[in-house]
């Protein structure tokens, strides 16, 4: 049964500042609504944050909501958490909802940890008795037992965040709505949150989560809602939605100079990269192919550079020395073995350098650059990947190559 049904939800905002001019508009609107002959304003100063959004969420689904900034993700969460009202449409939610739009909502710095646990818990709709029941467990999870009667303004920021998250983690709602809260805190803390959320989802809880962290979404969610300019662009399988989202990036973040015609027919594992962003299974090889045509020079060195989603350089793929002469007007391919990447998202830059065999190659002689030739998302079946030895959460690192380990004879023999 659908626990969340959203039908034709729309939300508009009026642009521009509020002042004497908008007051005049309000007055004429009011006048028109009671039948006075005022002219209707042009509606060109209306911003549509959500435009006719409909979707259903089934019980136990973990839905990731992705989209660019301004796509309407936060507006949707605000409406579903009843912080603001839609302009059109309706939503039906069956079950107790807790929405974590922020860590530490309702915490008062002057009050002690204990008082804040009760205040924050009751803001989220818990009864006093319900908080009594999980009070010990909240303190234990937050590791603040000895400071519990100290005002939280004297807490270190780490302690504060731990306590705040701990309260949030013990809400035990039927439906949990989370907005980017995981973006705060250090890596350790994020890991703890994810583990906690993961354990919550296993208990049949329905979760809606907004995040820009696509690898988190990919590993956590079984469904994704992709919003673009207030509309639902795609709703369904995680891989397909992520790849659709990344293909939007290709168009919007396209950034190249030189003539595009130099490089054509980019294919990834025989599929055209122009179609959308590629999803690669972690135990799959990656075959990159492209054509180079009409190059103005003979000695061209192509360099593919791999970056993480956050823009960190991972490695350059530079051709071997002996074969660069053959690169003009030809089809190139590059093969990257399976079990080499980590389960994150990579973007790939292509630069074509002209080569002077005496000086070598440098930044001054780039004739073509495409900062986002394509992006690809590496996905992994975490539960069934034996190479993880049962580790369920994320494994850090920009790459995760599997090398061959050999057991050597016991030397003490």
């Amino acid at each position: 049964m659908a626990v969340i049904e959203v039908e034709n939800l729309s939300k508009h905002y009026r642009l521009g500042s509020i002042g004497a001019h908008s007051f005049l508009q309000d007055c004429t609107n009011l006048g028109r609504s009671i039948g006075l002959p005022f002219k209707n304003h042009k509606k060109n100063n209306i911003f549509t944050a959500l435009d006719d959004v409909s979707f259903n969420v089934k019980e136990g689904d973990i839905v990731g909501i992705i989209g660019h900034n301004g796509a309407g993700k936060s507006t949707l969460l605000k409406i579903l958490s009843r912080i603001t009202e839609p302009c059109q449409g309706n939503a039906t939610i069956r079950g107790k909802v807790s929405s974590l739009l922020e860590i530490g909502t309702g915490f008062h710095p002057e009050m002690t940890g204990k008082e804040n646990i009760y205040l924050s818990g009751s803001l989220f709709g818990l009864k006093k008795k319900g908080i009594d029941d999980c009070y010990e467990s909240i303190i234990e999870f937050a590791q603040v037992k000895e400071f519990i009667d100290t005002p939280v303004k004297r807490y270190s920021s780490g302690m504060f965040v731990r306590l705040a998250f701990s309260v949030a983690a013990h809400l035990e709602p039927d439906i949990l709505i989370i907005d980017e809260v995981l973006a705060v805190g250090d890596a350790d803390f994020q890991k703890k949150c994810i583990t906690k959320i993961d354990s919550q989802t296993k208990s049949g809880r329905t979760v809606l989560i907004v995040s820009h962290n696509l690898s988190l979404i990919a590993s956590l969610c079984n469904k994704v809602l992709l919003l673009e300019k207030g509309k639902v662009l795609k709703y369904g399988e995680t891989d397909k939605c992520i790849s659709k989202y990344l293909s939007l990036n290709d168009q919007t973040q396209f950034n190249s100079f030189g003539t595009n015609n130099f490089v054509k027919n980019i294919k990834l594992n025989k599929q055209s990269a122009a179609k959308g962003t590629f999803v690669l299974k972690i135990n799959q090889e990656l075959l990159i192919e492209f054509n180079m045509n009409d190059l103005p020079h003979n000695d061209i060195l192509p360099v593919l550079s791999f970056f993480t989603e956050n823009g960190h350089m991972v490695f350059h793929a530079i051709p071997q020395y002996h074969d660069f002469e053959i690169f003009n007007n030809c089809k190139l391919s590059l093969n990257i073995p399976a079990n080499f990447f980590n389960n994150i998202i990579y973007s790939v830059r292509l630069r074509l350098h002209t080569i002077n065999r005496k000086i070598g190659w440098n930044k001054d002689n780039i004739i073509y650059e495409n900062n986002c030739l394509f992006m690809f998302s590496v996905i992994e079946d975490i539960k069934n990947n034996k190479n993880r030895f049962g580790k369920n959460d994320s494994i850090n690192g920009q790459l995760r190559p599997i090398f061959k380990w050999n057991s050597i004879e016991n030397q003490q023999k």
């Binding site: 603001t84 803001l123 039927d174």
Partner: protein, 282 residues
């Protein structure tokens, strides 16, 4: 699972006040009152003593300026007690009115992050303000009995009267929050009104019989004064605590209570309508 179904829809009725949720969150109400308690006297040495000092000092200043220098009538009551009793009703109204005026604005941080019935914080603060009222009341009683020691002709009116004080408090809450809610709701979009709210406090003070008795007003204007709901409230405190007053009659009570009910419901409906989309305007 079905018991918790929430329906979110556009264009709800103006009269949908979400009162059903209010009961579910009653623990929150107590915790917010407790928060106000804990935080208002944190890091002060004298704590609630400041309320006593304020009441004594205020009445002393009024006694000197309006009683001795301006020589205003105090309806035959000792001047100090007259002003103390006037301040009692006025101060409580002023603090509830202030709560109402800032109901949306001061809770922005919470309202923009989590849903709970938006009436809870202002009602909690209005209840918390009763604490200060009780301190002031005990100041009055102490002063009264000290006066009685020196001038035995002063007798405390019937003790039954004190039982009506909760009713007066209830009316004050309804009136203060009602006016405050209207101002708070209307100043969300246009903040001009919040400027007016501050000036209005001064105006209401002088339009109400805090520093003068209503008997000083020429009789032909008295029925006009009855339309200020505070006239009945403040004069009633005098009737209860000092024995007699002019405006604690049915002719004053009816317009006062009637107007309070109307203002309260207008305020409640406006406040409730505004809070639904409040975060979009700030």
């Amino acid at each position: 699972m079905k018991k918790n179904t929430t329906i979110i829809k556009a264009k709800r009725s103006w009269f949908d006040l979400e009162l059903g949720d209010f009961l579910k969150y009653k623990d929150l109400l107590f915790l917010l009152i407790r928060r106000d308690f804990v935080t208002s006297y944190k890091q002060t040495i004298l704590g609630p003593f400041w309320v006593i000092a304020q009441a004594l000092l205020g009445s002393a200043i009024f006694t000197i300026i309006f009683g001795k220098i301006a020589n205003l009538s105090t309806d035959g009551h000792p001047a100090f007690l007259f002003y103390l009793s006037g301040m009692l009703g006025w101060q409580y109204f002023a603090s509830v009115y202030c709560v109402g005026c800032n109901a949306l604005q001061s809770n922005l941080m919470l309202f923009s992050k989590v849903y709970f019935p938006r009436l809870i914080p202002p009602i909690g603060q209005a209840i918390f303000a009763i604490f200060n009222f009780l301190i002031q009341l005990s100041v009055f009683f102490t002063a009264f009995f000290i006066y009685q020691k020196t001038t035995p002709s002063i007798i405390f009116p019937h003790i039954i009267g004190v039982l009506f004080i909760p009713l007066l408090l209830l009316q004050t809450v309804a009136l203060g929050l009602g006016i405050g809610f209207i101002i708070s709701a209307l100043s969300v979009k246009y903040r001009d009104l919040s400027r007016v709210a501050g000036m209005a406090t001064q105006f209401i003070l002088y339009a109400s019989p805090v520093i003068y008795p209503i008997s000083e007003i020429p009789e032909k204007y008295q029925s006009f004064m009855a339309w200020n709901p505070l006239v009945f409230i403040i004069e009633s405190y005098r009737k209860i605590l000092l024995g007699h007053s002019t405006a604690s009659t049915l002719e004053f009570a009816l317009p006062s209570v009637g107007l309070t009910v109307v203002v309260f419901f207008i305020g409640l409906i406006l406040y409730n309508k505004t809070q639904r989309t409040y975060v979009d305007y700030v």
